[in-house]
Amino acid sequence: MELVQMQKSLQDYTKSLFLDNLKVEESVLGVIQKLEFMGVLDSQFLQLQQLQDESNPHFVSQVVTLFFQDSDRILNDLSLSLDQQVVDFKKVYPHVHQLKGSSSSIGAQRVKNACVVFRSFCEQQNVEGCHRCLQQVKKEYYLVKNRLETLFKLEQQIVASGGMIPAMELGF
């Protein structure tokens, strides 16, 4: 694929992560992805991108990778906690809280929003509600994980072809 094409695809794809109601054709994977009414990422992600520069060229992917590792662990712990006979919400709550914090810090807004709902069910000590929330959080998490991994892949392809990653032009 031509460099220019790849760059364009990357830009479109990146935009799609932020914007609502956008149907994006993912040229690299050839899959039409329809986004829900809310972008999987918010402007906080842009903040991260701004922190990346020549002295820290891989900052975004490093942070995101860290986020994935940590979140995998948290989701695991959450599943275990909620599967107990007697759910200990004192354990569940901090996990959800932390996931909310980390997801908001990298800009994974849908994960964060799902965590907010999850948290309120925790406060109500509603086990059934929490289970549903966990499922929703997981769903959103895998979604953003998938999207970001695709994003990084697109970027890598561009870099491998000798090109520059185009700057984002969203007006956040």
Binding site: Q44, L51, Q62, V63, D70, H97, S104, S105
Partner: protein, 645 residues
């Protein structure tokens, strides 16, 4: 932050070792930040952001580790940023420790933006509270807290009883005093002002550079503030274990309630130690004791924790304002109430602004107390007895709690214990607390021992913090000074006339004593207000609005704003909050009289508070059907003893 070229933003930090200009140029580059968060993602992002701001960053994912880092290197950091929810230690506990031991500004952060937690941050003495996700813009300006703290500490030097009306004047007096006590001559100021130490100061604290220097000498400052990244001199007396033991021995010899700084100083016989040092240390110590008593801790353990919670040096308690915030954070509800009352009352006296909507401010403050303490609901729905006009009348001269609090914050010991509650509007100015909202909670005369512990301590924290962070330090201090100086005529204290005072006295105790000991005792001129009901009400109004305003006002003194805010935010809590402690505190302030009264009051108050608290607590709990304290918010944060060191 642009690195102006004087060395890197990293290592040389504030360029303390360089000339004055160099320091200024560099700052805030090189600000040494310690960031604590158990979330690795956030930690990494924060570190990156802070480095981009040219700060020197150390990250830590465990609160315990952070504390030991800070202890090992007491002056190695300028500011701490900490998450609220951490697995090994509650962020607020860390906040308390840092405040007590190292007296560094601490910024709290969390994904939790619920008002109760934010308020808790304020009341515990955090200089700021950031909501995650933290943006770069928020971090860029954290250096202001470092500067502010230094300035506050400087101008917060308590002056001798008397007439210092303004910061400048105070400084002059300080200089004179210091000159007399063997400090440098005034003429030497010019010479010194160009010294390395002063260089930075000149840039940041022109008016106080010479006095700062003198002060340092006067105090025989063990620490010469050279590690101050912001280059603001801050002479500190380091309360080493030995020194503190001497102090405690002296206090015990005199009797905790009877101990006054002057006598303690004499007993200790430590060259270079000033009465102010002792006064402020005494204040903190008392607060510590109260807190322990309030949370059912043993005195012994209190002392232990008091000592052991710090390293060899007692955490370099500054004699200035800055520390008071932290100390206040330790206050049990009652003390807090007292402080608030003092702080509230005073300003009114100072500004003599009649017609302030005291009631509103009072309400605000109360709500602050009750904000996240469901136990406070005992007073729920109790109609406030105070009428606005009554309040206005009361306000007239009290350098009451507000002033006292301001004074405390300014590092003075509060002398006046006038409980007069926040004569709201006027006083607010210095405290920049929009305190006054309608007082919702009536003062309950009989509730001297109200166990408003959980809420009050927070409130107390709010007070100092708010004024500290919100108000321009100078403004604050000058106000504090003016308030402080306002010697409240002792005779205005209608102790005799206040039937309920005897009950209340106890609480005023330590608070008052601190005040009196350090300054000419000024009693809240508002004593005429002390009809029992009024007194109670005053206290309460002083307490809650005070807190409230602090919590929510950032430098705007407008009462209206405060009222609105308070009303909005605290409506729920107002009635809940029973400023029991406040009541008792009010009484205390009412005393304003001789120290003997104070002493008794203190003793009585303390016990009363305690037992009353328990009763109240159980009553409240029953009434509210509330279970044990919510560890997430309350007492855990206060039990320093529990922190494994």
């Amino acid at each position: 932050m642009m690195n102006r070229g004087l060395g890197s933003g990293g290592g040389s930090s504030s360029g303390k070792n360089q000339g004055g200009e160099a320091v200024v140029e560099m700052f805030p580059s090189g600000l040494r930040v310690l960031v604590v968060d158990d979330d690795p993602t956030c930690l990494m992002i924060l570190e990156r952001m802070l480095r981009t701001c040219l700060y020197e960053v150390t990250k830590c994912n465990r609160a315990e580790m952070a504390l030991s880092l800070l202890r090992k290197n007491k002056h190695g950091f300028d500011i701490v940023i900490s998450d609220v929810h951490m697995p090994d230690m509650d962020g607020f506990k860390l906040l308390e420790h840092v405040g007590l031991e190292m007296d560094l500004p601490v910024i709290m952060m969390s994904a939790d933006d619920s008002k109760s937690v934010v308020l808790k941050g304020v009341t515990h003495g955090a200089v700021d509270y950031l909501i995650k996700p933290v943006r770069m813009e928020a971090l860029k300006n954290i250096w202001q807290h470092v500067v502010r703290k230094r300035r506050t500490e400087w101008s917060g030097v308590p002056t001798h009883s008397g007439s210092v009306e303004e910061t400048g004047e105070r400084q002059r007096q300080q200089q004179q005093r210091e000159a007399v006590s063997g400090g440098e001559e005034d003429g030497a100021d010019d010479n010194n002002s160009s010294s390395v130490n002063e260089g930075g100061n000149n840039n940041w604290r022109n008016s106080s550079s010479s006095s700062s220097r003198k002060r340092k000498e006067e105090e025989g400052g063990e620490e010469q503030g050279d590690e101050d990244a912001s280059n603001l001199k801050k002479p500190r007396v380091v309360w080493s274990v030995e020194l503190h033991q001497q102090f405690v021995a002296a206090v015990n010899q005199l009797g905790v309630e009877k101990a006054v700084p002057k006598k303690i100083l004499e007993l200790m016989n430590v060259p270079g130690l000033t009465r102010e040092n002792v006064a402020s240390h005494l204040q903190k110590y008392r607060i510590y004791l109260r807190r322990l008593g309030g949370v059912s801790q043993h005195q012994g353990s209190l002392n232990n924790s008091f000592m052991t919670s710090q390293d060899a040096s007692f955490g370099s308690l500054p004699t200035l304002n800055g520390f008071d915030l932290q100390a206040l954070a330790q206050l049990p509800a009652q003390s807090l109430a007292q402080l608030q009352a003092a702080g509230l009352g005073r300003p009114a006296a100072m500004n003599s602004k009649p017609g302030l909507p005291v009631s509103s401010s009072i309400v605000d403050e109360r709500s602050v107390f009750s904000f996240d303490n469901p136990k406070m609901s005992l007073l729920h729905g109790v109609p406030t007895g105070m009428e606005p006009r009554q309040l206005a009348g009361l306000q007239q001269h009290r350098m009451t709690i507000q002033q006292q609090i301001a004074a405390v914050r300014a590092g003075h010991s509060l002398q006046n214990n006038g409980m007069r509650m926040p004569l709201a509007s006027q006083q607010q100015q210095p405290f920049s607390r929009p305190q006054q909202s309608s007082i919702r909670q009536p003062m309950l005369p009989n509730r001297s021992g109200f166990s408003g512990r959980s809420s009050i301590p927070e409130s107390s924290r709010v007070l100092p913090t708010t004024s500290y962070t919100n108000l321009a330090a100078q403004q604050q201090h000058s106000m504090a000074f003016s308030n402080f100086q306002q010697e409240l005529p002792l005779n205005s204290f209608p102790l005799a006339s206040a039937p309920g005072l005897s009950v209340r006295k106890p609480h005023s105790s330590s608070y008052r004593e601190d005040v009196n000991s350090s300054e000419a005792g000024f009693t809240a001129p508002s004593y005429d207000m002390f009809s029992s009901r009024q007194n109670d009400w005053d206290l309460r109004s002083m307490l809650s609005p005070h807190q409230d305003s602090q919590a929510y006002s950032s430098s705007s003194m407008s009462r209206n704003n405060n009222s609105a805010v308070a009303a909005t935010d605290h409506s729920r809590n107002h009635h809940q909050q029973t400023p029991q402690g406040m009541v008792s505190h009010h009484q205390v302030y009412g005393n304003g009289g001789g120290s003997s009264v104070k002493v008794k009051a203190e003793t009585m108050g303390f016990h009363e508070q305690y037992s009353n608290q328990e009763d109240l607590m159980s009553a409240l709990l029953k009434q509210e059907g509330i279970g044990p304290v919510d560890t997430e918010f309350d007492f855990d944060a206060y039990s320093i003893d529990d922190i494994p060191v």
